[in-house]
Structures are given as structure tokens and as C-alpha cells.
């Protein structure tokens, strides 16, 4: 394969969250048609997501919808009454290639990206892809060569369900693939893979649900697991090798050997764990790139 083809192919495998426009105004369903038209005009947008108080997607509305409503004397109607409610969405696990396929298959002008709880993360339009693609290519090269600004951060976020042993490890696999595409060294990728896998499985084994967040900047990778769960009674004990509260059932599957947290610590340059009994646990691992 020619170098340029391979490069393009790798870009297509990047998550759609890197392409989407995340700086979108939030519009509540009880805004009036004429107000939303103003919001779009000021922000030079052709369409916008309508979200509830918690940021969850409830619909989308386009400039065309708004102008049509105004023509029909509905300028004082709630945007809720004219918006499209059955919206086809993308999730953070979709790739750029998936997004392009969606545009081709559905023929819509935009797709909102939502997480597992339907919280709106950003919007993707074909224009975003055209504009962001060359920038993305540069960012990738900057990270590879370690000359990016310290402030530039790529953030990946995954929902993890407690007890889901079938999909446990999926998020970590995606993170690994992503780092491989960035061209990071094998040693770094291995350490991130171990830390993220252990964190992901800790949520699966011990918590009700949680999030795995990875932030990649030019000098370090921060991996965070934030869960809702029973919390840890004695954190000092929990980080000791061999200590585990996992059930015999889970241990039979080869988990819960009390090596998870020690493994994370051994892979990390910086490590932190905070836990509130009855609330949840937050584990942070920082791995320096150089």
C-alpha cells in the first residue's frame, strides 16, 4: 500500500468523537422557534441538537425546519413541536468510516453523537469531516513526534456496565487500537492496555456501572475509571497484592486474584484511588509518554 493510502486508511479508523463539533450551543425543548433561529444564525449553524436539562438528546432541528415553521406562522411555537424526534445517532465507539457510511446510507445532513445515556456529545456534518480531517492528520503526527502543544488533549470515553463479562475488555481493546493508530511505542501501549483493562474489569467485577476515560496529550496519557458502586472499605488493603473481595464465582473465571490494582500501579507513573463507600470509586493512572 502506498504511504498516503495507509495514512488515509488509518485516519478512517479514528473515533468519530475527534471529528465531531463538540462546541455546539445547547437548546432546550421549550425554546421558541424564532429564538432557535437566532441561535443558529448567530452561531452560523444549519442545525442544532435539542437537549433536556441533563444534556440528553431529545431531537434535532435544522434551519430548514425553522424557516418552514416561520412561514407557517409558527414562530412562537416551541421548538419541541417542530423538531425531528426519531434521530439516527452515532456513538463514541463509531469510527470516521462508520460516519461516512451513515451519510451514504441515510442521506441525512448531520448525525448527533451521544453516549450510552443519550447525553449529547457533539454533531457531525460532512463539512466537519472535510474541515477536520487535515487538522486531525497534523495532530496525529504531532503526537507521534511529540511536538504537540501541552494543552492539546484527545479524550476518549466509554461506558462500562457492571457484570458484563461478555463485553468486558472491549473499551480497552478500542483504546489499544486507537493508540496503535497514533503510532505510540509498544511499551506505552502495553502499559496503557494493562492499566485500562484492569480498570475496566474492576468496574465489571465490582461496580454497577462506570466510565472509562482516556486523555491523551503530547507528554502523557491519563486513564480514569469512575464508577457507581459499593466503594472500597479499606483502600490501603485493596491495593495490596493478593487482597480481593471478588466472589468465588468470579474467581473461577480467573478474575479477582487481587492483582488488578497492583498491576495498574506497576504500569503507572502516577496513581491515585479515591473511594466513597456506598457511592463509588475513582481510579486514576498517569503514564508519561517520554
Amino acid at each position: 500500500m502506498r504511504e498516503i493510502d495507509r495514512d488515509f486508511y488509518n485516519l478512517l479508523k479514528l473515533p468519530v468523537t475527534l471529528i465531531m463539533n463538540a462546541n455546539m450551543p445547547k437548546v432546550l425543548p421549550d425554546r421558541k422557534v424564532f429564538q432557535v433561529r437566532e441561535i443558529l444564525k448567530i452561531n452560523q449553524l444549519d442545525g442544532v441538537a435539542i437537549t433536556d436539562e441533563d444534556g440528553r438528546l431529545v431531537g434535532i432541528v435544522t434551519m430548514y425546519d425553522l424557516l418552514k415553521a416561520i412561514e407557517e406562522d409558527k414562530r412562537d411555537a416551541f421548538v419541541e413541536d417542530i423538531m425531528t424526534k426519531n434521530v439516527v445517532t452515532l456513538s463514541p465507539s463509531h469510527t470516521l468510516a462508520d460516519a461516512i457510511e451513515y451519510f451514504r446510507v441515510y442521506g441525512y445532513g448531520r448525525f448527533p453523537v451521544v453516549d450510552g445515556a443519550r447525553v449529547f456529545l457533539g454533531m457531525v456534518t460532512p463539512l466537519d469531516i472535510v474541515i477536520r480531517l487535515p487538522i486531525l492528520k497534523e495532530e496525529r503526527e504531532e503526537i507521534k513526534e511529540g511536538r504537540g502543544e501541552a494543552t492539546k488533549v484527545i479524550r476518549l470515553e466509554f461506558s462500562v456496565e457492571g457484570g458484563d463479562f461478555i463485553n468486558g475488555g472491549e473499551a480497552s481493546s478500542k483504546i489499544k487500537r486507537y493508540l496503535q493508530n497514533l503510532g505510540l511505542s509498544k511499551d506505552i501501549i502495553k502499559r496503557v492496555a494493562v492499566a485500562s483493562y484492569e480498570m475496566e474489569m474492576n468496574i465489571v467485577i465490582h461496580a454497577y456501572r462506570g466510565k472509562l476515560i482516556v486523555e491523551i496529550s503530547s507528554d502523557k496519557i491519563i486513564i480514569k475509571a469512575i464508577d457507581e458502586g459499593p466503594g472500597i472499605e479499606d483502600v490501603d488493603k485493596a491495593i495490596q497484592p493478593g487482597y480481593s473481595t471478588a466472589s468465588p464465582k468470579v474467581r473461577e473465571l480467573g478474575f479477582g486474584a487481587g492483582m488488578g490494582l497492583p498491576n495498574i500501579i506497576s504500569c503507572s507513573d502516577e496513581f491515585d484511588i479515591k473511594s466513597n463507600v456506598g457511592v463509588g470509586t475513582e481510579v486514576t493512572s498517569i503514564i508519561y509518554i517520554k
Binding site: E170, A193, G254, N263, S266
Partner: protein, 111 residues
């Protein structure tokens, strides 16, 4: 020595994709505690384990092992085989016990 060549000389059964046997394994690791395997197994290793549930393939993918071998006649469930095929992890089984299998593999120069 590729996995296919290994299959020719040892009593191994291929459970996965034929096309995933072209890899050349480098060293190996035996372990059933997944955290221990995560920490100590290396890329390209042959991983010998009696754990058969689907998460084994996630671990195999994350480490980048060349193949997973189930010793002692242990047979993985269908979903594990399907996942291995999807992730292009070679997946084999044998009637040999883990110790004997390791010895034979080591003798063949994979170390």
C-alpha cells in the same frame, strides 16, 4: 516456525481461522489468572490456559499474543471461538497437559 508448522508436528486442533496460522510465535506463557497473564505475557507469545470464557480473547487481543492453546482436552464455548475468529486470534486445543505441551513447544525452539 509458524503456527501452521507447529500444528504439523504437535497433536493440536485448530478451532479458529485457517488464515490466522501464518503467524510466527515468540515465546510463551502459561496462566489462568487473567491479571497475572496481563502483566507477564508478551506480544507474540503462545498463551496456554484452561480459562475458556470470552474475556480470554479480550486479554489475548490486548497483549497481542500469537495464539491461545487450551490444554488437557479443554474445549472453549462457541462464543469464545467466534470472538477469536473475529479478532483474528489463532485458537487451538490439545489433549496434552500444559506441562507436556510447554516442553514440546520449548524443544521446538520457541522460547
Amino acid at each position: 516456525m509458524t503456527l501452521r508448522e507447529l500444528l504439523d508436528v504437535l497433536p493440536l486442533t485448530n478451532l479458529g481461522n485457517e488464515s490466522d496460522l501464518e503467524k510466527t510465535p515468540k515465546g510463551g506463557y502459561v496462566g489462568d489468572l487473567l491479571s497475572n497473564v496481563m502483566r507477564f505475557a508478551k506480544e507474540g507469545n503462545i498463551w496456554i490456559t484452561v480459562q475458556t470464557h470470552i474475556n480470554v480473547i479480550a486479554v489475548a487481543t490486548l497483549i497481542g499474543v500469537s495464539c491461545v492453546i487450551f490444554p488437557c482436552g479443554v474445549k472453549p464455548p462457541e462464543e469464545t471461538i467466534a470472538k477469536a475468529k473475529e479478532e483474528h486470534i489463532a485458537i487451538l486445543s490439545t489433549e496434552l497437559d500444559a506441562f507436556t505441551l510447554c516442553g514440546k513447544i520449548y524443544e521446538l525452539g520457541i522460547r
